[in-house]
């Protein structure tokens, strides 16, 4: 059993308290606001911002309405970032379900940024020795920034004034999501994160389509690591078979050449 968070977009008022709480709890620097046309600041997560609230004007029942959506690492059940990292700088904690980044192991190849189906990992481009940066689910094996490891909710969830965020066992959160959907026809009949990328700890329900909120719509339901595994599983047999074949060919063709050379000699003598 791992933890999960249910984000109910219909309850979010876009106050960004979660974003501030994240910065404060995790000692992240703030920056001068540069509001762009989606009203959010910053428009996307970056090397120093792990979560941000998207503001979108969307059409619903022929009316323009504003919807606001908190976005951060989804903490996949089988995370692409964990499988992509060749130095194990990303590891998933099975108890909490947090996909945690361990800076001291990171080489800085940025393959994790490519491999994440939600484009979550960001990079500190302005630094000489930049690190990858992403939400840690308020889980810190070293203890300093840990909340979820102690059984507490993440800082953002605790701060949310409207209970738009709800923390608990993932299974229970999923159950809650479907309860809400089934008891109110207003919701879209889909829990974003139930199946996306093989399932994620963070899940969303909404009354407008998810792609209009700024969430990626075409995420595969197959966990990303399976795509790599589909290829890597052939490595051991290829080493054995191809290595054996190469050796056999080497010694066979060499012997044939030597025998031919011998024959030539015999002929001349």
């Amino acid at each position: 059993m791992s933890k999960g968070v249910l984000v109910d977009v219909t309850r979010c008022i876009g106050c960004k308290a979660c974003q501030t709480a994240c910065k404060q709890w995790n000692d992240m620097p703030s920056s001068i606001p540069e509001f762009d046309n989606n009203l959010g600041h910053p428009a996307k997560t970056n090397g120093y911002t792990w979560t941000t609230v998207y503001h979108r004007v969307v059409e619903k029942d022929n009316q323009d309405v504003i919807r606001t959506t908190k976005f951060q690492c989804m903490h996949c059940l089988d995370p692409g970032c964990v499988s992509a990292c060749f130095s194990r700088a990303f590891q998933r904690d099975p108890k909490t379900g947090a996909a945690v980044y361990h800076p001291h192991l990171c080489v800085g190849c940025r393959y994790c940024m490519l491999a994440c189906p939600f484009n979550v990992p960001k990079y500190q481009w302005d630094k000489v020795f930049p690190l990858v940066s992403k939400c840690q689910f308020c889980f810190d094996p070293k203890g300093k920034y840990d909340r979820v490891g102690h059984g507490q909710a993440p800082a953002c969830v605790s701060t949310c004034p409207t209970q738009a965020l709800m923390f608990g066992e993932r299974e229970e959160m999923l159950q809650e999501a479907w309860n809400r959907i089934n008891s109110n026809p207003n919701y879209i009949k889909h829990v974003y994160g139930e199946k996306e990328a093989g399932g994620t700890a963070w899940m969303y329900i909404s009354d407008v389509p998810f792609e209009e909120l700024g969430l990626r719509a075409d995420v595969t339901e197959r966990p990303i690591p399976q795509y790599s595994h589909e290829f890597l599983k052939y490595t051991p047999p290829v080493i054995v078979a191809w290595g054996g074949l190469l050796s056999a060919m080497y010694f066979y063709t060499k012997r044939r050449k030597d025998v031919a050379a011998e024959k030539d000699k015999g002929f001349k003598a």
Partner: protein, 378 residues
């Protein structure tokens, strides 16, 4: 011992230019290491991988593929007529990989941590396979070069190197088979991101096959360059039969492409127009279709024809790798990417440095004229 050696390095205007380019690149490389990636490159959160990964690494490894395809043909299959070109092919490959290592080193953010994956095994990652194979293969190639080098320096060691050659040669074909394909397989995780003209469950196989057939192509181009510079001409017949092996693999590549596009119902994208379609058609025309036509016409029997076909195949593979890294990702990323001038200069300077090293080694070791020595290596 060393004092008895004669070292020579002629300085010509071209070499002067190459030297300047290499020095400029070295200066920029130092600047990048001291100030960070953000100030030297145009990379950002939308474009975590750019020219250095695309050209210096992915393309560099493919173009250096001549080393393993020729080693397989000449030394594993013992087809002796190819011995004449084996050494120069393997040297180009060694230099290519060294440049790839430098390119990679410059591209990683925590460069002092580059050794981490040797001890912290992220074996679930395709990149882990790439990392291990490329490092081991570069080592193997340095050792293989040891066999050549000890003809001239530290001669007593030569017999050890000559003894180890069979093992080195076999491992030296096995490792590239693994990492050439895994470089493509890195993009398997880009499902839904990389444009469907390039994302394919067979992308690893495509990378492997193209790295194999670009080998003979590169060797042809290279021998014609070296032929001019060193007045050392390789028999056209040898080049043609080497290329025949390459073109056979290329036909298989073409067949797999057709099968792949059909099975994924992706032909619509080929003719959809727009940047991706055009780049795909360009890649296939320049790199595969026109060279095939040249090869099977009368012109393909001449040195000029073979060299042209070879050059086109090499350019086609370059376009292919850049398409995967850049063109195919534009649609998803939504933002454009153009390398900074520093990224360009480092890439150009690395190639220039490699060419200089090639000239220096050819001037001083028996790379081009060595037919009599070959029985030892074989």
């Amino acid at each position: 011992m060393m004092s008895a050696q004669k070292w020579s390095f002629r300085i010509t205007p071209v070499r002067m230019l190459l030297l300047l380019l290499a020095l400029l690149a070295a200066a920029i490389a130092v600047y990048r290491l001291v100030t960070g990636l953000g100030s030297a490159t145009n990379l950002n959160d939308e474009w975590p991988w750019g020219l250095w990964i695309g050209f210096d690494v992915l393309t560099g490894v493919a173009l250096a593929g001549g080393g393993y395809s020729v080693a397989l043909i000449a030394h594993i299959l013992h087809i002796e007529k190819f011995n004449a070109i084996a050494r120069s092919a393997m040297l180009t490959s060694l230099l290519g990989y060294l440049l790839v290592m430098i390119g990679l080193f410059l591209d990683i953010g925590q460069w002092f941590n580059f050794w981490r994956p040797f001890v912290s095994w992220g074996y679930h990652s395709v990149l882990f396979e790439v990392f291990w194979c490329v490092s081991l293969y570069t080592t193997v190639q340095v050792l293989e070069f040891g066999e050549i080098a000890t003809e001239k320096v530290v001669k007593p060691l030569h017999k050890f190197f000559a003894k180890a050659m069979p093992f080195l040669l076999i491992v030296g074909v096995l490792l590239p088979t693994l990492h050439q394909s895994s470089l493509g397989a890195l993009y398997l995780t880009q499902v839904g991101k990389l444009h469907p003209l390039w994302w394919s469950p067979y992308i690893g196989l495509f990378f492997l096959m193209s790295s194999f057939f670009v080998g003979p192509a590169m060797v042809t181009v290279e021998t014609s360059l070296a032929g001019r510079a060193y007045n050392h001409w390789i028999d056209t017949k040898i080049l043609r039969s080497l290329q025949r092996i390459g073109f056979t693999v290329m036909l298989m590549y073409l067949a797999l492409k057709i099968f792949d596009l059909t099975s994924r119902d992706a032909w619509q994208y080929v003719f959809a127009g727009g940047l991706e379609s055009n780049m795909f058609i360009l890649e296939m025309a320049v790199g595969v279709l026109i060279p095939l036509v040249i090869f099977f016409t009368a012109w393909g029997k001449t040195r000029a024809g073979l060299t042209t076909a070879g050059a086109m195949v090499a350019i086609g593979v370059i376009i292919n790798r850049m398409n995967v890294v850049i063109t195919g990702m534009i649609g998803y990323s939504g933002a454009g990417y153009a390398p900074s001038w520093m990224e360009w200069m480092v890439t150009i300077g690395l190639v220039a440095g490699g060419m200089l090293a090639y000239c220096f080694i050819c001037d001083n070791f028996r790379i081009l004229e060595h037919e009599d020595e070959q029985h030892k290596a074989a």
